[in-house]
């Protein structure tokens, strides 16, 4: 039973106010992209044991989508942040580094 703070309305929302929306920072591939890129975008997932970045929506709340950085092994939350970004904020990356030095996730570290 997770709680995540919605970065838009500030509510410490419990899971039943939220909706999980899958892996974060997917780069969309449209017409003109290769089959591999397109398959990667639609289906291939990091699915890590450990640090993960994902999308959520405060669906029973302010309705905004946001990002969360979370550990899939401990459910520790490193932070939530705006949906309108292509990468996690440095502050959250630092927080993760303090706990898991040398972590990587896709192109982030």
């Amino acid at each position: 039973m997770l709680t995540l703070q919605c970065p838009y309305c500030g509510v410490e929302a419990e899971e039943t106010e939220l909706h999980a929306e899958g892996e974060a920072h997917l780069k969309r591939f449209g017409p003109g992209s290769s089959d591999d890129d397109f398959e990667g975008y639609l289906f291939m997932r990091e699915n890590p044991k450990g640090v993960h970045f994902e999308r959520w929506r405060h669906s029973n709340g302010c309705g905004k989508f946001f990002h969360a950085a979370r550990c899939t092994m401990t459910l520790e939350v490193f932070g939530t942040y705006s949906a309108q970004t292509l990468e996690p904020p440095q502050e959250i990356k630092d927080k993760i580094s303090a706990k898991y030095p040398g972590w990587t996730w896709r192109e982030f570290a």
Binding site: M1, L2, E15, T16, H19, A20, G22, E23, D35, D36, E39, G40, L42, F43, M44, R45, E46, N47, P48, K49, H52, E54, R70, T72, M73, T74, L75
Partner: protein, 415 residues
């Protein structure tokens, strides 16, 4: 292997059962095997068993990081059915179901396959049409199912409320030869048979690396040292992503928690398995008398084997509505398992980007019922190096081609 029988029990009773031998050996790993299977769950053990039985390949190690059968094999709600819609699924699950019919005799281990029948309730017009479609498909697939009316449902399940004010029961898809089995026994029975064929089941041995050369698999590194092999099978539900990562490729899968619960045991009151997909709940009664109840998956990646309580709430709510007597029972125990879910909710049995490395994964919520079929198909794949007809459609290439096997279409869910 000393055979199990009533006579053997009587013989042993006289000497206080001191003469029973180990069900399986507990060997140290050899340097090299023809085939290594990673994962001693139902699918892994079944794969090894059919490698031996169907292809005579017995120089096999089954490597398990925990205890055999300790993953999803021992955590599911033990439902066995094959009333799937799409041809490839129906073929695979019906193969599995038919193997369950004779499994106790084949393994000389009573897995308590109980073909008590499975009903999937239709509670909306849309579900009625969906299940009628499945019944028509099944008729051509050689899967015996039947769409039955509400009166017949009530006859089969006296404790059901077919006149619920919100979702009256409009009928159901009935598979008479579906049912349940004793999940632990399936793993134990296969393990005993594999061990008897000379295969090594190596428990408490974690794979920490996959070794390859020139794009071909060479072996694995484990907590008990390196072990070489010609062929490698990854059969590790809930950990497929981690193993794939070691082998150097990604999977079209995510791992999420799936939960189940049981009530306290009561005297027999329900003799079939009932699945109610509109309200999201399914229930059967175990031989011990517990009502075994399953629900839905969490929406987020999770490896903790702990799901979110609101799914339990949703499931119990649905079952209290469908079976009013449930309200006065008590929840004895809830638990979770980690399932790998693919992009089309159907499993993957196929080759991987690494040569001679094969994978059986992505069963989502439907792994237990498929164990013998999945093992059969995976053994064929590993032995021949190419998929046979049972697994032909289940390769990962389907995600590139857009050739999906989508079972959710007939109002069904892949439990």
């Amino acid at each position: 292997m000393r055979r199990y029988s009533a006579f053997a029990i009587a013989r042993e009773a006289a000497r206080y059962h001191t003469g029973w031998e180990r069900a399986w050996r507990s060997p140290e790993p050899k340097k090299k095997y023809d085939v290594i299977i990673v994962g001693a769950g139902g699918h892994g053990l079944a794969t090894a068993f059919y490698l031996g039985k169907n292809f005579g390949i017995t120089n096999v190690a089954i490597i398990e990081k925990g205890w055999l059968g300790g993953g999803n094999t021992g955590r599911n709600t033990t439902i066995i059915r094959s009333n799937y819609l799409q041809d490839p699924s129906a073929a695979l699950y019906e193969k599995a179901r038919s193997l369950y019919e004779t499994m106790s005799q084949d393994l000389n281990y009573n897995v308590m396959f109980s073909p008590r029948g499975v009903i999937m309730l239709a509670q909306t017009q849309h579900e009625v049409r969906g299940y009628q479609r499945t019944a028509h498909a099944n008729a051509l697939q050689g899967v015996k199912t039947e769409f039955i009316g509400p009166e017949r449902v009530k006859e089969l399940v006296p404790i059901i409320n077919i006149d619920g004010p919100r979702y009256p029961v409009l009928g159901g898809l009935w598979q008479e030869r579906g049912g349940t089995g004793r999940h632990d026994a399936v793993a134990w029975g296969y393990a005993r048979a594999c061990s008897d064929m000379g295969m090594d089941i190596i428990q408490k041995c974690e794979v920490i690396g996959v070794r390859s050369e020139g794009g071909m698999v060479k072996g694995v590194d484990t907590t008990k040292g390196p072990i070489d092999c010609d062929k490698l099978g990854l059969v590790v539900a809930g950990n497929s992503g981690a193993l794939a990562d070691m082998a150097g490729f990604r999977l079209p899968m995510e791992s999420v928690a799936l939960q189940a619960l049981v009530s306290e045991p009561i005297k027999p009151c329900m003799d079939v398995v009932v699945m109610a997909n509109t309200v999201h709940g399914y229930m059967s009664q175990s031989d011990k008398g517990e009502m075994v109840i399953g629900g839905g998956t969490d929406g987020f990646n999770n490896y903790t084997q702990r799901g979110s309580f609101h799914h339990i709430e949703e499931t119990v709510r649905a079952l209290c509505e469908t079976f009013p007597m449930v309200s006065r029972l008590k929840m004895l125990r809830q638990w979770g398992g980690i399932v790998d879910v693919t992009g089309d909710r159907s499993p993957v049995i196929g080759k991987t980007p690494l040569g001679n490395c094969f994978i059986n994964a992505g069963w989502g919520t439907g792994g237990f019922k498929a164990i013998p079929g999945g093992g059969w198909a995976t053994a064929e794949l590993i032995a021949k190096g190419e998929p046979g007809p049972l697994s032909a459609e289940f390769g990962m290439e389907r995600f590139i081609e857009g050739r999906f096997i989508d079972e959710s279409v007939a109002a069904g869910v892949a439990h």
